[in-house]
């Protein structure tokens, strides 16, 4: 689907170069993004990708929400890394989210760094990148920006909103705040509130970034530096939370990187060390450190019940949305208990909810991997829901 992208002239060259890989729309001061912090943000560029074709009555749209460090490239080769889309197994012709039937939209979140307005974007007031002048955003703000995009695309009601981890938080926010615009929702490996443990891990990452002298209080763009080391450490720490102990054991155990002897130094003796260093260093090539600060903050602030008298059930009162909640047995980052809290709340309002816990040893990352049982249950849920929606 082609959209007339109203690109303002002062976008960074980086975005111009990536223009062919995705679509963009800009919302100017006439349509500011009203943030939870009270500020109005404009202009806001919304970068997104689409797959499939919107049907004549605009009823077959599926919004896919991405996780913390992912982006709009859910089912296409990433223009920067050359890697295949992060949900390639889920979205495509014949996949559970079948692009022969559905029109799939995947936006980059506000605060992100892949084309949507974020701390790396140019602040129109200064002509320089925002850095820490970028307002603190929330999950609700991300969703509010997505509502603008969906309006722009002429879609009144989404057939489905789906996402894992932070994408699941956006899914829950959509289903709660815009219930009449969401026919079905698939929150995966997520939480309705960020726990102290979740916040703790994020704070470690943020402190690592801020401790890097190249961070320059967030103004590193002007200094021609990037807090590579800090962001890499943040990524390494976070990456551990995405994997299970058993997957680390199976993949690495105590295997040595080179040879059979310790080096009696601090190089990457163990394969796991080498793997984490690689994860850290490749991450900094594709991700903006300030975006990492802002997006982790948005996740930490997320507590869906807080805005509803501390009752999660109230957040879904009178909902007619059909839900399918998914968790994974070995996910200790967003464990089954967090996902079941969502299910309990939905039961309390007699909502239509399915819940599956998928047996997997891959940890939190399982939602991004080839998990046949996840695919088959979601296919069953989506197909039966499509039939009810008259999209058979």
């Amino acid at each position: 689907m082609g959209t007339s992208a109203d690109i303002s002239g002062d976008q960074s060259r980086n975005q111009e170069e990536q223009k062919l890989a995705f679509e963009m729309v800009t919302f100017q001061s006439s349509q500011p993004l009203r943030l939870d912090s009270g500020e109005d943000l404009y202009p806001v560029v919304q970068a997104y990708n689409t797959y499939g074709t919107l049907n004549a009555d605009n009823t077959n749209a599926v919004l896919v929400c991405h996780a913390l460090t992912l982006d709009q490239h859910a089912a296409n080769v990433h223009p920067a890394t050359g890697k295949e889309g992060w949900w390639q197994g889920m979205i495509g012709p014949g996949c559970p989210i079948d692009t022969n039937r559905f029109f799939v939209i995947c936006p980059n979140v506000v605060g992100g760094c892949q084309g949507t307005t974020g701390p790396e974007s140019i602040n129109p007031e200064t002509g320089k990148p925002y850095g820490l002048d970028f307002p603190v955003i929330t999950i609700a703000d991300m969703v509010r920006a997505q509502v603008q995009l969906i309006d722009h695309l002429g879609i009144d009601k989404l057939f489905c909103v789906a996402g894992g981890s932070m994408g699941g938080m956006q899914t829950l926010e959509w289903a709660s705040t815009y219930a009449d615009r969401v026919y079905s929702a698939i929150p995966i490996a997520t939480a309705a509130r960020h726990s102290a443990q979740n916040i703790a891990f994020h704070e470690v990452g943020r402190q690592a970034v801020q401790a890097d002298p190249d961070w320059h209080d967030g103004a590193y763009y002007e200094h021609g530096t990037r807090p590579r080391k800090g962001l890499a450490v943040a990524r390494m720490a976070a990456h551990i939370t995405y994997m299970s102990e058993s997957s680390l054991f199976q993949k690495f155990d105590r295997n040595l990187q080179d040879g059979e002897e310790f080096t009696y130094g601090f190089g990457p003796d163990f394969q796991i060390e080498s793997y984490l260093r690689h994860q850290g260093s490749t991450f900094v090539d594709r991700f903006d450190a300030n975006s990492y600060l802002y997006i982790t903050r948005a996740m930490d602030y997320f507590d869906l019940a807080a805005g509803h008298g501390d009752s999660l059930a109230n957040a879904f009162k009178d909902t007619e949305t059909r839900f399918c909640v998914v968790s994974f047995t070995s996910d200790w980052h967003y464990p089954t208990t967090y996902n079941k809290q969502i299910v309990h709340a939905l039961n309390a309002v007699a909502a239509n909810v399915s819940f599956v816990e998928i047996e997997s040893d891959k940890g939190h990352d399982a939602f991004l991997l080839d998990e046949p049982e996840m695919f088959s249950t979601l296919r069953g849920f989506i197909d039966s829901t499509a039939e009810r929606r008259g999209l058979g």
């Binding site: 039961n347 007699a350 239509n352 909810v353 819940f355 599956v356 047996e359 088959s376 849920f381 039966s384």
Partner: protein, 205 residues
């Protein structure tokens, strides 16, 4: 959740006949969704399920049914009063830890309650226990005593007594034996002796 050999579920079609078309139904211990599927296709029912076994849940969701992983003993407290027109517990009550509490929750959540269970008062069972001195094994209760999930078996008479204590009125009682079904809203001595299984439609008194 409970014992549910697929070839021995004649109670399912009988239960389906008790449910008004187009109603809202919660099937507690729904297994792989056999009853929910019958209800959806034949009675146009808006059905939900709760199932303890994750395999059962995943099978249900794959079939397009709305089912969550949960436990009759623990998870019924979440649901609001009168959430469903019918709440069904088919051949599951004998495997719950607190059948009284489960029934009390069902009474709150559903306008009607349907319960089916194997009758421990059946004459074959009485003979095995009373005369032969062995724990009974029948077609409906085929597990060995040390393998059975059934920890709260009861007779038709016991069940009716509990319903009375919980202010649940018997709207219909169906006694299943061999291929026959007898109606007995007020089951007597011979019903309790001859029924292999029983299905009760109950409502709040």
């Amino acid at each position: 959740m409970a014992l549910k050999p697929l070839d021995n579920r004649r109670d399912l079609s009988i239960i389906a006949d008790l449910v008004e078309p187009s109603s809202r139904v919660l099937d507690v211990g729904c297994g792989e969704g056999e009853l929910l599927e019958i209800l959806a296709t034949k009675r146009n029912v808006d059905g939900r399920g709760v199932e303890l076994s994750q395999d059962g849940v995943n099978a249900c969701v794959t079939r397009g049914l709305s089912v969550i992983q949960g436990d009759a003993d623990q998870d019924l407290g979440d649901y609001p009063k009168d959430a469903f027109d019918y709440i069904i517990l088919s051949k599951t009550i004998q495997a719950t830890r607190n059948p009284g509490t489960v029934l009390r929750q069902m009474r709150r959540i559903g306008r009607h309650v349907i319960v089916s269970f194997p009758n421990f008062g059946h004459w074959k069972i009485r003979v095995q226990l009373g005369l032969l001195g062995r724990m009974p094994e029948t077609d409906t209760l085929s597990d060995k005593w040390y393998e059975t999930p059934n920890i709260h078996l009861c007779t038709v008479k016991d069940f009716v007594t509990l319903c009375d204590e919980l202010d649940l009125e018997v709207v219909q009682g169906l006694m299943l034996s061999g291929g026959t079904v007898r109606h007995a809203s007020n089951p007597g001595f011979f019903d309790n002796l001859l029924a292999e299984e029983a299905v009760f439609l109950l409502k709040r008194r």
